[in-house]
């Protein structure tokens, strides 16, 4: 039990740490004069890295769930709710970045404004549910 909790906390910490390193990498690439506008660089990163990774995560996750018969459990549908929230957040962020790149300033949205908090909270919940598999 303690080992599983430690493992879940470790996985959540690693994901948040790597997310932060990627933010720094993208920001520094823009700040060091990569030549393209910041929004275009962030959108390009989303298109080439974040969105394919999200689709791969969905594909591999659903394949594992089907193979192991996890859909009847409590933890997987609960975890899926957090995964859906994160995927929707990424979609909203992507939509807003597109508008900003087009020279528009879309009205602020509560979910996008709280994006950082929602991401960290969801990652912690997902890591604990996936590693400890309660129920």
């Amino acid at each position: 039990m303690i080992y599983s909790a430690l493992k879940a906390a470790h996985v959540a910490s690693v994901i948040i740490f790597v997310g932060g390193v990627l933010v720094d990498a993208v920001f520094l690439s823009i700040a060091s004069g990569s030549g393209q506008p910041a929004i275009s660089a962030v959108r390009r990163w989303g298109r080439t890295v974040t969105t394919p990774a999200m689709l791969l995560a969905w594909t591999l996750g659903l394949t594992m769930a089907l193979q192991q018969g996890w859909f009847a459990s409590f933890w997987l549908p609960t975890k899926l709710a957090f995964v859906l929230l994160l995927s929707a957040l990424h979609g909203m962020q992507s939509g807003r970045l597109r508008r900003l790149e087009g020279g528009q300033t879309p009205a602020p949205n509560a979910m996008v404004r709280l994006g950082g908090l929602l991401t960290v909270g969801s990652v912690v919940a997902i890591a604990f549910l996936a590693v400890m598999k309660p129920g």
Binding site: W58, T59, M92, S94, G95, R99, G102, G103, Q104
Partner: protein, 137 residues
């Protein structure tokens, strides 16, 4: 001289205003094209699954098609719904249009029925792009 200078400045300002509007319309048209392509893929995989693979599984005892097409459609469904979220998050969509786009993913031929809505949106954006480019040409 002064009036010519003013006219040139006015033209430059119009160009400066038209450029972002044209760029925004171009970005939205590209996004709508992506959504239209994904809606066709989602619709086609759903039709194959419901009208070909499932009858083969239940009436001919051939489950292979469902085993392959099930996950393929699942992925197409996810990609379509995610692209709907990405598209409508930019704003400018009525609640009814958003519901229509989402519900279509669950109904065979549903996404094909939205083809007209998306084409119409694209045409209006193309027109606005031409209008914004008009004065400078």
């Amino acid at each position: 001289m002064v009036s010519a200078g003013r006219a040139r400045t006015g033209g430059d300002e119009r160009d400066a205003e038209a450029a972002p509007a044209g760029r925004a319309a171009e970005t939205e048209i590209r996004q709508l094209s992506r959504l239209q392509l994904l809606s066709l893929i989602e619709g086609a995989t759903l039709i194959l699954l419901v009208f070909v693979c499932m009858p083969l599984k239940h009436f001919a005892g051939l489950p292979l098609g469902s085993k392959i097409m099930g996950p393929v459609h699942g992925l197409a469904f996810l990609a379509y719904v995610w692209t709907v979220v990405e598209t409508v998050s930019g704003g400018g969509w009525k609640a009814g249009e958003i519901v229509r786009l989402v519900v279509a993913a669950f109904v065979p031929f549903g996404t094909f029925a939205n083809h007209g809505l998306l084409t119409d949106k694209r045409r209006r954006l193309s027109d606005s792009e031409c209008d914004s480019a008009g004065p400078s040409t």
